[in-house]
């Protein structure tokens, strides 16, 4: 009898152990209040220019890009200026989307058309401004909203979550 109780106890301890909600860990608020100081991750605004809605049916519509930040918390940090990167990426940036994002986050208005590579190379202030916007500004918390389907992608601790429920896959 004692043995049975003991075995039962051991099994229950074991079951309890393996039933730890590991699959839910990502969304468990296991960080204490004030977790923002921990800076788990950061997402540079540069990255936002490459992200659109993950829902396949939204991809064909131009309104799904860029995603619109909502309740955004930003953080800035010091990064060494990398002119080579900016010159390389300039033709790949969607300038219109960058202008929208920058306006929505309350930054000074960008010109309507992108600078040419020569302008960027010769204008130190322009280079610094663009660097500061793309490389030094980080999205920390908030939501990214699709302009077509309205789906809200949560951003937590600098990591946006683009996983979709099965009815949207």
């Amino acid at each position: 009898m004692v043995l049975l109780v003991l075995i039962h106890f051991m099994i229950s301890v074991y079951m309890h152990h393996i039933q730890k909600p590991v699959f839910f860990a990502e969304h468990y608020p296991f960080s204490p209040p004030g977790h923002l100081e921990k800076k788990t991750a950061k997402m540079k605004l540069l990255t936002l220019n490459f992200l659109t809605c993950a829902v396949k049916t939204c991809k064909s519509s131009s309104d799904s890009f860029p995603l619109h930040p909502k309740d955004a918390e930003l953080a800035s940090d010091d990064v060494e200026v990398n002119p080579e990167l900016l010159v390389n990426l300039l033709p790949r940036l969607d300038w219109k989307a960058l202008k929208t994002t920058s306006a929505e986050l309350g930054f000074p208005q960008l010109p309507d058309s992108p600078p040419t590579i020569e302008q960027l190379q010769s204008d130190d202030k322009l280079l610094k401004d663009l660097h500061s916007l793309l490389m030094e500004t980080n999205l920390m918390e908030g939501k990214l909203v699709c302009g077509v389907c309205g789906h809200e992608y949560a951003v937590r601790e600098g990591i946006p979550n683009f996983l979709l429920p099965s009815h949207l896959v």
């Binding site: 699959f23 839910f24 860990a25 990502e26 969304h27 468990y28 296991f30 960080s31 977790h35 921990k38 800076k39 788990t40 991750a41 950061k42 997402m43 540079k44 540069l46 990255t47 490459f50 992200l51 659109t52 809605c53 993950a54 829902v55 396949k56 991809k59 890009f65 940090d77 990064v79 060494e80 990398n82 080579e84 990167l85 010159v87 390389n88 990426l89 033709p91 790949r92 969607d94 490389m135 809200e152 992608y153 949560a154 601790e157 600098g158 990591i159 946006p160 979550n161 683009f162 996983l163 979709l164 429920p165 099965s166 009815h167 949207l168 896959v169």
Partner: protein, 477 residues
């Protein structure tokens, strides 16, 4: 002039792809004169000096960020025995000797798979006295270093073989980044997981994919960030995503992907990380065949990744495995997906389908001549070997293999070809095929073979192989 590259005798099949990638990266027109997987010595030819850059500088540049090469040397002469080396040195380099008459120098012997006694070494070195160098001999930091490399047969010491097979006499020019893997060593990294990629192989992957300053790289299966760190180490800005956000988050403090970047002082090159599934990727893509200028719309210079093989790390994508059998999963999802703690359901996915998706994604997001390099496992047994996947918009550049006991993994590198060079017949053939399967084993022939111990299928199956190219037909039983 010819140059000798002294390789490390490890990861042999990765050495030439890495060297060729570095030649592309440094824009050096290199010709490989002699190379063998069994020898650490490789002879290359470089274009003649064109001022202001002389060929020795090109040679130093070629291997300055190599991981598998150790050093590069000016080749003064080589031959099957010492006498022929002397003859070659005397006949071709006598015009070079006066330049080194007064500088400090040292002589070394580099014997591969063999050894010499001290007396033999001294007498061999003295046999070069005709060079007539008058400068001081300095064993530390000499101006010039001359080396006699010896290639001995395997096991020559126990077999008592008296002489090496081949000898090379060289002048040292420059070294590589052979020590860099120690800096990124997994044993000293703050945060790793079971499937973190070895630092040396991650750096080689970054080299083969041409990671470099000013470039943008992406890893869609970043995990704890082995590849983003490797490409950032070479100067590229890295983006990473993973279907499991926990691997990016870590413990939320020091042990995170970002913490790893911090450890190596690379924070400025971490573009961002996000949770996403490659089959429903939020990265903006360009439909194939629709862009003209070759750059706009496609954003990455390179993609490097080690996708899950489905053995240690499950191969899952978003979706429900059997929507008809479990309709409530989707129904509940519709009701609850807006809640903060909602976890979207995932289903097993085919390994070959995943590789195919990576190639399709790479074709849609890489700039012209951008590279994608990924790892895939395969059985060593020829019957069960998995074919190298292909894509009409990508040219296969190299396949390198790391062999384990019964299986191997391969690093495959492709180049995005400009739209105008794409074969339209291959594009059409690609659109017409279909992939099938539902369970993990049906979807992943490698996983099935792995857990069955890589047994050769019985001979009665005739000529059919368990893995059909490009389609996933579940094997019988």
């Amino acid at each position: 002039m010819e140059y000798l590259i002294r390789f490390s005798q490890s990861h042999e099949t990765f050495r030439l792809p890495e060297l060729q990638a570095l030649a592309v990266l440094e824009r050096i027109d290199m010709e490989v004169v002699s190379y063998s997987l069994d020898s650490p010595f490789c002879i290359i030819r470089l274009p003649p000096s064109s001022p202001p850059i002389n060929t020795a500088t090109l040679a130093r540049r070629l291997i300055r960020r190599s991981i598998l090469a150790m050093s590069i040397h000016e080749l003064w002469g080589h031959g099957p025995d010492l006498a022929s080396v002397h003859a070659a040195v005397k006949s071709t380099t006598s015009s070079l000797w006066p330049s080194y008459l007064s500088c400090s120098f040292k002589f070394t012997l580099d014997s591969y798979q063999g050894s010499r006694t001290s007396d033999q070494k001294v007498s061999i070195i003295n046999s070069f006295s005709y060079l007539g160098f008058m400068g001081p001999i300095k064993m530390r930091h000499p101006d010039q270093e001359f080396t006699l490399h010896e290639l001995w047969p395997f096991n020559s010491t126990p077999l008592g073989i008296p002489e090496p097979n081949h000898l090379y006499f060289t002048r040292y020019l420059g070294s590589s980044l052979r020590d860099l893997p120690k800096k990124l060593d997994l044993k000293k990294r703050r945060y790793i997981s079971t499937t973190s990629m070895d630092a040396e192989l991650a750096l080689i992957t970054a080299n083969i994919a041409l990671a470099g300053p000013g470039k943008l790289f992406y890893d869609p299966f970043c995990g704890t960030g082995s590849f983003p760190i490797a490409v950032a180490e070479f100067g590229a800005v890295a983006l990473g995503s993973d279907i499991d956000g926990r691997s990016i988050r870590g413990d939320g403090g020091r042990k995170t992907l970002r913490g790893n970047f911090e450890q190596y002082g690379l924070l400025g090159r971490l573009g961002g990380t996000f949770t996403a599934d490659l089959t429903n990727s939020p990265i903006r893509k360009q439909e194939l065949g629709s862009d003209g200028d070759g750059v706009r719309g496609r954003v990455f210079d390179g993609i490097v990744c080690d996708p899950p093989y489905g053995v240690r790390e499950g191969l899952m994508v978003l979706g429900v495995r059997d929507p008809e059998k479990t309709p409530w999963v989707e129904r509940k999802g519709r009701e609850m997906y807006k809640q903060a703690d909602f976890i979207p359901p995932r289903k097993p996915y085919g390994f070959l389908a995943m590789l195919d998706d990576i190639l399709q994604f790479a074709a849609q997001t890489l700039v012209d001549n951008g590279r994608v390099a990924f790892w895939m496992p395969t059985a060593n047994d020829e019957e069960q070997e998995m074919p190298v996947p292909s894509h009409p918009y990508l040219e296969t550049l190299s396949v390198s293999t790391q062999v384990f006991n019964k299986w191997s993994r391969r690093l495959i590198c492709y180049r995005r070809i400009p739209d105008k060079d794409v074969d339209s017949a291959a594009v059409k053939a690609r659109e017409e095929r279909k992939l099938v399967g539902k369970t993990a084993d049906e979807l992943n022939p490698f996983r099935k073979a792995y857990f069955e111990g890589f047994q050769t299928p019985p001979a009665t199956t005739g000529t059919s192989t368990p893995v059909a190219p490009a389609t996933e037909t579940p094997p019988p039983n």
